[in-house]
């Protein structure tokens, strides 16, 4: 078998290889106007109303981690993908792929967590599916979630809509989820525990949309982190994005863990953060709305959209120099020395 023609783990990292796979293998073959926008949720009209529709699979290991579990993650991830379209999430499906041998007690914990998260997000689980596979054919539990939401009139939010002059804001600190998972998976006992930020953000988005109809882009920076998501937006909108390192919040414990492992927090996954790109005249209003919500209380303006260097993200470093921030390449791996 020619190994260069096989799928690598890095194809699932959320970085450049994932993008290539999606663009060439899926979008290339299945393209239509909606899919080709490559937004986290597809928006389309149905019987006069506008709907948002999304799907995602959750394969996190371990399935329980500080700050959440795979069930909470599945609900929040799908709710947040709908929220990035400005949609009010309404209905979710849940499909479980369960590895033989999973304790029922663990499954019950996950289901309870799903119940709590869907209750907080105000969504109903309306359909589902269950498959059990032989031991070793799955890693304990995989969940696929699809979600449907309603897009209010006048809302047009997409990664394609960033315009030069727009303000880039972030709802809080980055890297919490990725480092919590890493710490749990690898058994690092940090003195200050690192917790996942896993949370449903639709409530915060509703508040933001009440404050302004001039929100052009919303995106939750999950796999690949802030850097990869901003690169995606820069490419989708064909604009440059300038960000300021000193304005990007990183919790001390997360920063220290990243230092230890040689990771850049810009590339570490989040599950409860939102990037908003907003017309400059409404930036303060949206920022204030974000901060009124507990999940956005540490929101800050981190940069702006520019007409120069289209498709590129540029970081002003803490020392005042400027450098390119590229997408994640391959898997996030610890340094060797």
């Amino acid at each position: 078998m020619d190994a260069s023609k096989t799928v690598l783990l890095a194809h699932g990292s959320g970085g450049k290889l994932s993008q290539d796979l999606v663009r060439k293998m899926f979008v290339g073959e299945l393209a239509n106007e909606t899919l080709s926008r490559l937004d986290d949720a597809a928006c389309f009209s149905l019987n006069g109303g506008r709907l948002a529709f999304t799907t995602d699979s959750y394969v996190v290991s371990p399935i329980f981690f500080p700050g959440g579990d795979i069930g909470k993650l599945a609900v929040c991830g799908t709710v947040n993908d709908l929220a990035t379209a400005g949609a009010a999430p309404k209905f979710l499906s849940l499909a479980f792929i369960i590895e033989e041998g999973l304790p029922l007690e663990d499954l019950a914990r996950v289901v309870n967590s799903i119940k709590a998260a869907s209750s907080e997000a105000g969504v109903c689980i309306v359909t589902g599916d269950t498959k059990v596979v032989n031991r070793g054919k799955a890693d304990r539990l995989f969940i696929n979630t699809s979600g449907v939401g309603i897009v209010p009139d006048g809302i047009n939010i997409s990664g394609c809509n960033a315009k030069p002059g727009d303000i880039v804001m972030l709802s809080g600190s980055i890297g919490d989820h990725g480092m919590a998972i890493m710490a749990q998976r690898e058994g690092f006992n940090f003195k200050v525990p690192v917790e996942s930020d896993c949370a449903p953000l639709n409530g915060m988005v509703t508040t933001m949309l009440e404050a302004s109809k001039n929100i052009h882009v919303l995106r939750d920076p999950t796999r690949g982190g802030l850097a990869t998501t901003l690169n995606e937006i820069a490419a989708q909108s064909n604009v440059g994005i300038d960000i300021d390192e000193t304005k990007i919040p990183v919790k001390d414990a997360v920063g220290a863990a990243c230092e230890l492992l040689g990771f850049d927090p810009l590339y570490v996954a989040n599950e409860g953060k939102m990037i908003a790109i907003v017309a400059p005249e409404d930036a303060d209003k949206v920022l204030e709305a974000m901060r009124r919500n507990s999940y956005g209380s540490k929101a800050s303006i981190i940069g702006e959209v520019v007409s120069g260097h289209p498709g590129r993200v540029v970081l002003k470093t803490a020392l005042g120099a400027r450098r390119i921030v590229d997408m994640l390449s391959g898997e996030l791996l610890p340094r060797i020395c």
């Binding site: 190994a3 230092e259 020392l319 450098r323 391959g330 610890p334 340094r335």
Partner: protein
């Protein structure tokens, strides 16, 4: 983040930069030996902040990049042996050997696992008695003591299914080899921080002593590096090169005696092949005969199916020697990208080509 943010203070950085600009009167090439420094220099944009007559050159200090293709081929051959589990630190998994890489071997069915420490590799061996677990020992004096500790632990536990392929390298001999070759005129060297924490700052006395070149040991924060450059400029301007330490919180003159003793207990110096440089005497660490049961080279009959093959057009060897920069390479950004790397310098998180690729593209 205590002990890190203090070393990224922009006001202090400006003060150091002002001092460097004021004092530095003559052009100088300053080589950072270590890939960790290369990445920090790019990450904080330090090249753009220094006066243009001071050039920072990237040296050979990435253990992944300096590993020869023939040695990587040995690792690939091990991965093909039925029942063998390869355990390795992250970066190595993507580095192309002559015919393939570990991540592609894994996709094709080989058992290849990324670990975060040698302790993880030991755990895999304990939990999989039916597997022969090989840890790929790549690194400088920084990581070699932890590998020595793993071998001692495996030996104490009589863990028969754990071995190491030692591709470790020691750094002073390659520094001497580069300076002897004289391909690049160097006026200052930023000595490696983590390596020096083990071997001690005194190990670098030959740089000013034999070659008359300024040097200082640096940590990996921007202020460490600027402080180090400031020391080197003082030495250059005064014409009095010596060894200084801008990383005194981690580095002592004599190094870490416990780590050095452990290295000596498990390893003996041996010749090593360096990519782009060739074989250098006494620059490698071979596992002592006493621990042959944990030496993969002795446990397995490693057969290379084909002659090692260097990738055509790849300038990694020249980049490692600071003779060329990544941008001199015709493959850079075209045939060679982080997704499809041709040479190791594009793969490793500490590789010069990866640093140039991710950080140094002109901002249009």
């Amino acid at each position: 983040m205590k002990f890190a943010t203090e070393f990224r203070d922009s006001a202090l950085a400006k003060k150091l930069l002002d001092g460097i600009r004021r004092k530095s009167t003559r052009p100088a090439n300053i080589m950072e030996f270590c890939g960790g420094h290369t990445v920090a220099i790019f990450r904080y944009g330090l090249r753009d902040l220094l006066p243009p007559h001071l050039k920072l050159l990237s040296g050979p200090g990435c253990p992944v990049c300096v590993t020869s293709t023939a040695d990587l081929d040995k690792v690939m051959a091990l991965a093909r042996i039925p029942g063998v589990t390869i355990t390795t630190f992250g970066d190595l998994i993507k580095v192309p050997a002559s015919y393939g890489s570990l991540d592609r071997a894994r996709a094709a069915g080989a058992d290849v696992r990324t670990v975060y420490s040698t302790l993880d590799a030991l755990d895999i061996a304990r939990n999989n008695p039916g597997k022969k677990v090989v840890f790929v020992g790549i690194g400088f004096e920084t990581t070699a003591p932890t590998v020595a500790a793993a071998i001692l632990q495996a030996d104490a536990e009589k863990l028969q299914n754990f071995s190491v392929i030692s591709l470790h390298k020691v750094t002073p001999p390659v520094t001497r080899a580069l300076l002897d070759a004289g391909e690049v005129k160097i006026q200052g060297i930023i000595c490696p921080g983590h390596v020096s924490a083990i071997i001690g700052a005194d190990a670098w006395y030959f740089i000013p002593g034999r070659y008359g070149i300024a040097c200082a040991v640096s940590g990996f924060e921007p202020l460490d590096i600027l402080h180090c450059v400031d020391m080197i400029i003082d030495q250059i301007e005064s014409g009095a090169p010596r060894v200084q330490t801008a990383y005194s919180r981690a580095v002592r003159a004599e190094g870490n005696p416990q780590a050095l003793a452990m290295l000596d207990r498990v390893f003996e110096v041996a010749p090593a092949d360096w990519r782009g440089v060739g074989s250098i005497p006494e620059s490698g660490l071979a596992i002592r005969e006493e621990f042959a049961a944990h030496d993969a080279e002795k446990v397995f009959e490693i057969k290379l199916e084909r002659e090692p093959r260097e990738p055509a057009g790849c300038l990694c060897g020249e980049v490692i020697r600071a003779v060329k920069t990544p941008e001199d390479c015709k493959l850079f950004r075209k045939a060679c990208t982080p997704e499809n790397p041709v040479g190791p310098c594009m793969v490793s998180s500490e590789g010069s080509c990866a640093a140039y690729y991710h950080f140094a593209e002109a901002i249009g």
